[in-house]
């Protein structure tokens, strides 16, 4: 286990800047998830930590060592790739033993470690199979097994669940989390799926366009998004963002409808109001909305409603028997509403 310290790290390809000054400190045994849309630089940052990409500027430390110029093999890391990257001509056993053989470990030690890792991951009956004889989930486990046999200081995961179907993804998500709780190895996990980030991480790093937008514990990000991007990115369905302006302790949208915000923000003028879909509730004294679309999922009902020109999504726990064209009265607690500056996008 080790801490990781990233200070002022930049990555440029010619004139193009892919990462622009990343600062991040990861604690010993922490599970940190880098999340963001495609092209935000999260995988590049992970690959720089792994030593697969050169660092244009800045410093990366693993433990006490600066690893900028250290080859991958000397960084004491293990990485799980998106497409598993299993050696197809080697059995599961050989795949898991490969890195130990390269380190000239004793044969008995290799056998013991492979056996232990296989037992942890439920791979013991599969040790003599080739990767092509395994299912997607089993391949994923072998990729993890290959990482854990080395007992590295840091685990790096690069979108490891992207190739799995939805059900298996949920199962593997739990398995990775359980594995981390068991081994307590410092872990950096890259994903574009905010649900994975929220459910797995001790801390989430949200990135966009090569920069960090916000770092924090999952629920802190959810409850207090620092800016419009984070507000829209975290949460499914996404937060409703309504453009308008602030008048005292009221928000007025473009059509002139007023929305309670419960306090007078420090900044007035043009702003964006954010309300999470699940914060709406049925209330006879609430604001009237016209129902546009009803999508029941069983456990909850997602309803698209309209107030003037403004459409919003609300998520109701109740089985609302409503149809398009009906009027629903909805309310939300003003203290759960978020306000952002229209100009800077920052929370106000």
């Amino acid at each position: 286990m080790a801490t990781i310290s990233i200070a002022g790290v930049r990555k440029t390809y010619g004139a193009a800047t892919v990462l622009s000054g990343i600062d991040l400190d990861i604690g010993d045994g922490e599970f940190v998830v880098l999340v963001g849309p495609s092209g935000c630089g999260k995988s590049t940052l992970l690959r720089m930590i792994a030593g697969l990409e050169e660092i244009s500027d800045g410093t990366i430390r693993i433990g006490e060592r600066v690893v900028n110029d250290l080859p991958s093999k000397d960084r004491d890391i293990a990485m799980v790739f998106q497409n598993y990257a299993l050696y197809p001509h080697m059995t599961v056993r050989d795949n898991m033993a490969f890195s130990l053989k390269l380190r000239r470990a004793e044969k008995s030690e290799i056998e013991r470690r492979v056996r232990d890792a296989a037992a942890i991951l439920g791979l013991t009956p599969l040790l003599d199979r080739l990767p092509r004889q395994l299912s997607g989930g089993q391949r994923q486990r072998v990729a993890m097994g290959r990482a854990i046999v080395r007992d590295p200081q840091v685990f790096l995961f690069d979108e490891p669940l992207s190739n799995l179907d939805a059900k298996l993804r949920v199962q593997m998500r739990s398995e990775i989390k359980e594995l981390h709780q068991r081994l307590k190895t410092t872990t950096i996990y890259v994903t574009h799926d905010q649900i994975e980030a929220m459910t797995m991480a001790d801390r989430v790093v949200i990135m966009r366009d090569g920069a960090v937008e916000q770092i924090g514990r999952p629920l802190d990000l959810y409850d207090h998004p620092a800016n419009l991007f984070v507000a829209g990115f975290i949460g499914s369905p996404a937060m409703n963002l309504i453009e308008g302006h602030v008048e005292g302790d009221t928000f007025r949208d473009e059509a002139g409808s007023s929305w309670p915000i419960g306090h007078t923000p420090s900044e007035g003028g043009r702003a964006v109001l954010g309300i999470r879909p699940e914060h709406f509730r049925l209330d006879p004294d609430g604001l009237p909305f016209e129902v546009v679309l009803v999508e029941p999922t069983g456990s909850e009902t997602q309803v698209l409603v309209r107030r003037g020109d403004q459409q919003v999504v609300c998520l109701l726990r109740e089985r609302a028997s409503t149809c398009p064209g009906d009027t629903l009265h909805l309310a939300y607690r003003p203290e759960q509403a978020h306000l952002f500056s229209k100009e800077s996008g920052r929370r106000i």
Binding site: A50, G51, L52, P71, S72, K73, I77, A78, M79, F81, Q82, N83, A85, Y87, P88, H89, F98, S99, L102, R103, R146
Partner: protein
């Protein structure tokens, strides 16, 4: 669910008998001389001229013993040695070329590759005289190296081309996983890329074996001693010596085909896989 275009299905079924007929014609055309050669290699010369298309009345296996004892065995050993060394060298150096061109990014990579490919359009006959001078200068004339070095040089462009085409289909992540696992460049080549290139290596090996085994011009020009001569040269002199004993000559020709034929049978599955490698994802 598999979708088949009705148009494609109709056109395939209507043309299938014609294609089959053409293929059968081609098969007979190809096999006719070989069957004729095999049948007559077991006859006496008189029987060959009288009944060249019947089965032998008595199977004269001794034709093969006679051919071998005429010195053919010595030529076979020379050919086996020169071919094996050349093919192994071509496959290994070609694979290294392909590995470097696939996995490493260095300035001028495309130029190097283009330069290598340029070798494919160079006819060997054009180089005969300069090669003769160079081999003589370094003292390689009339040695095994006088054949092996040119064979390797002329085989490398095609080998590099085919192996590179194969290696570009190996996911980059495998290289990176091996780097993180602690593998050096040569170890990654030896333990990951080389075993994964087996189909392409089989194709290269077989094509180069046939080319080297049957090569005539270099073997004729750069070798003077009878003790170093390969099978192609041996057979031509053998033919002169046995101008009247045609069936023994035919037995000799069959012996000369056997190693290539057996190798092809052993490697044909991998060979076909190698040739079609990279055609589709």
């Amino acid at each position: 669910m598999t979708l088949v275009s009705p148009t494609f299905r109709r056109s395939r079924s209507s043309s299938a008998p014609i294609v089959a007929l053409l293929l059968w014609g081609l098969t007979v055309f190809s096999l006719y001389p070989l069957i004729w050669l095999v049948l007559n290699s077991f006859k006496t010369s008189n029987e060959m001229f009288d009944q060249s298309w019947t089965l032998p009345t008595v199977w004269h296996f001794e034709n093969y013993v006679t051919a071998w004892n005429y010195g053919l065995g010595h030529y076979v050993v020379n050919s086996l040695f020169v071919t094996s060394v050349s093919v192994v060298a071509i496959a290994l150096i070609g694979a290294l070329n392909a590995f470097v061109l696939t996995t490493m990014n260095f300035p001028g990579r495309r130029i190097v590759y283009g330069f290598l490919l340029g070798g494919m359009i160079m006819p060997p006959e054009v180089c005969l005289f300069p090669l003769f001078k160079i081999l003589d200068l370094f003292g390689f004339y009339d040695t095994y190296l006088a054949m092996i070095l040119p064979y390797v040089a002329f085989g490398l462009p095609f080998a590099t081309f085919l192996l590179r085409a194969h290696m570009t289909t190996i996911p980059r992540e495998l290289y990176e996983a091996a780097v993180v696992d602690g593998g050096g460049v040569l170890r990654i080549f030896w333990s990951i890329y080389l075993p994964m290139s087996r189909p392409a290596l089989a194709a290269v090996g077989l094509i180069m074996m046939m080319r080297t085994w049957n090569e005539f011009i270099f073997a004729l020009t750069f070798i003077e001693s009878d003790g170093l001569r390969t099978l192609t040269i041996g057979i031509s002199t053998f033919g002169d010596a046995l101008r009247v004993d045609w069936t023994v000559l035919m037995a000799g020709l069959i012996i000369s085909i056997v190693p290539v034929f057996v190798t092809f049978l052993m490697l044909q599955r991998q060979f076909m896989g190698g040739l079609t490698q990279g055609a589709v994802k």
